[in-house]
């Protein structure tokens, strides 16, 4: 496997270092060839920079990709926004040589050149496509049989599909496949692909942000979900922090928000403490308690059977 740099983005190191902890823990456990690279900046955030100065948005993303190009590494990110922004700019420049030339004329003065050689992948499709279900199964010590775990893709893991090509943008499967491999029972939700709505908090519309979070959390509560799994710091912020704020005002949901790397970490034998899961604002304890209280022997036999039936070994 080609060496890759983890593009941490701004939100995880600034607000959620514990998500960096679980990500590193999992990457190390799989002995993956990753390293930290000096020189990255904000990807930059599309809703913020592209709305004010589209040229600067492209220049900044192109420079980040050029850093990876110069280091000779691919890029993997646990943030959907970073991957989507970088990929959108990469696709635009790769298909528009004149624009790439203009961008490079500026980048040259900062000592860089955009080539677009680095592959850019989000962590979920990365685990699905490049690590694979079989390897995950090899390392798995515990499964989630009997646990109802809802999945939230995060819009920018899969869209815009012309730039990402990561999964079907309207009917994605990869995150679901990974959860199925971990033995989780899926939760059918009408609002499964609905945007989390965190963007509204960034434009001073907090009540509207809460309103969108509430719609999804209410549905999950009525479906009896034990947890919601995400793999985007913005979605995590929306469902963990904003759920906490609503609960403080008396609205109870009780849906723990679990990062994909935390769930995977638990499955391969790390403890919630080792994964720093006590840092969430909405407690993960009800989930952990129910999970640890299951009859596990029966669960693992059943999951072997179900996985064979589903044909996921062939992926």
């Amino acid at each position: 496997m080609k060496e890759f740099a983890v593009f941490w983005g701004c939100t995880i190191p600034t607000r959620f270092p514990f998500l960096e902890k679980s990500t590193r823990t999992v990457l190390d456990a799989f002995s993956l060839p990753y390293r930290d690279v000096d020189g990255f900046t904000c990807c930059p955030e599309k809703s913020l920079i592209n709305n004010i100065d589209p040229t600067l948005w492209k220049l900044t993303a192109a420079r980040n990709i050029a850093v990876a190009d110069d280091e000779g590494v691919d890029v993997v990110s646990p943030c959907t926004g970073c991957v989507s922004n970088l990929s959108t700019v990469k696709k635009g420049l790769k298909t528009n040589p004149k624009e790439a030339e203009e961008v490079n004329a500026v980048l040259k003065k900062a000592g860089r050149e955009f080539k677009g050689a680095a592959d850019l992948t989000h962590l979920v499709p990365f685990f699905h496509d490049k690590i694979g279900i079989r390897k995950i199964k090899d390392l798995m010590k515990k499964d989630f049989k009997g646990m109802k775990i809802a999945v939230h893709y995060g819009c920018h893991m899969i869209r815009p599909s012309h730039a990402l090509g990561a999964d079907d943008p309207i009917s994605p499967k990869k995150f679901d496949n990974l959860l199925a491999a971990l033995g989780a029972s899926p939760v059918k939700a009408r609002n499964k692909l609905m945007c989390c709505g965190q963007g509204l908090d960034r434009v001073n519309q907090h009540d509207n942000a809460l309103h969108l979070a509430r719609i999804k959390l209410r549905e999950l509560k009525s479906e009896g979900a034990d947890a919601l799994v995400v793999c985007c710091p913005s979605c995590f912020l929306q469902f963990d922090n904003n759920q906490f704020l609503m609960e403080k005002e008396g609205e109870k949901f009780g849906i723990p928000i679990i990062y994909f790397t935390e769930l995977l970490g638990l499955a391969i034998g790390f403890t919630p403490e080792e994964l720093a899961m006590n840092s969430h604002r909405v407690s993960v304890e009800p989930f952990i308690k129910k999970w640890e209280g299951r009859d596990t022997t029966e669960a693992s036999e059943a999951i072997e059977e179900e996985l064979s039936d589903a044909g996921v070994f062939g992926l």
Binding site: C10, E20, F40, N51, K109, G111, R159, P160
Partner: protein
């Protein structure tokens, strides 16, 4: 507006509305009606939207782009209006705060050092702030020429 948007596509957009079924803001935020905005753009009456909350309610989830048979969607119209609004100084205060931080530091925040230490995380990689500043200067020069 004619410079930044394809009015022929927008005309079809104004009559279509296929993406109302999947647009989270159209479905769930009272008063969010992109076709009303698009009809005003086509009439040349977009000015009134520049100071509205509506244009910032597009979540940029790109769902409409995927559903749109022209791969155009409401989002393109909202983005054009947001850029015009921003160029006239109309934007949510939080957006301005984020922009200022980005220009100054090249990032939207610094790594949380005490928490990193507690979690046993390695020292964070160096940011590209100096190179970013040089790029910003070069960009300003090329723009002014």
């Amino acid at each position: 507006m004619q410079e930044s948007l394809d009015f022929n596509l927008l005309k079809m957009c104004a009559d279509c509305g296929a993406c109302y079924e999947i647009c989270p803001s159209s479905l769930h935020l009272d008063g969010y009606d992109p076709r009303a905005v698009i009809k005003d753009i086509l009439k040349g009456e977009h000015e009134k939207w520049l100071t509205s909350e509506t244009i910032w309610q597009c979540l940029e989830c790109h769902y409409c782009l995927e559903m749109c048979y022209q791969h155009y969607g409401f989002e393109s119209a909202m983005t054009a209006l947001r850029r015009l609004a921003a160029s006239k100084g109309h934007f949510p205060p939080q957006l301005k705060k984020g922009w200022d931080l980005f220009i100054k530091s090249s990032r939207l925040g610094d790594p949380a050092m005490p928490a990193r230490k507690k979690l046993g995380l390695p020292a964070p990689a160096k940011s590209g702030v100096d190179e970013f500043a040089a790029m910003l200067e070069a960009y300003k020069e090329s723009r002014d020429q």
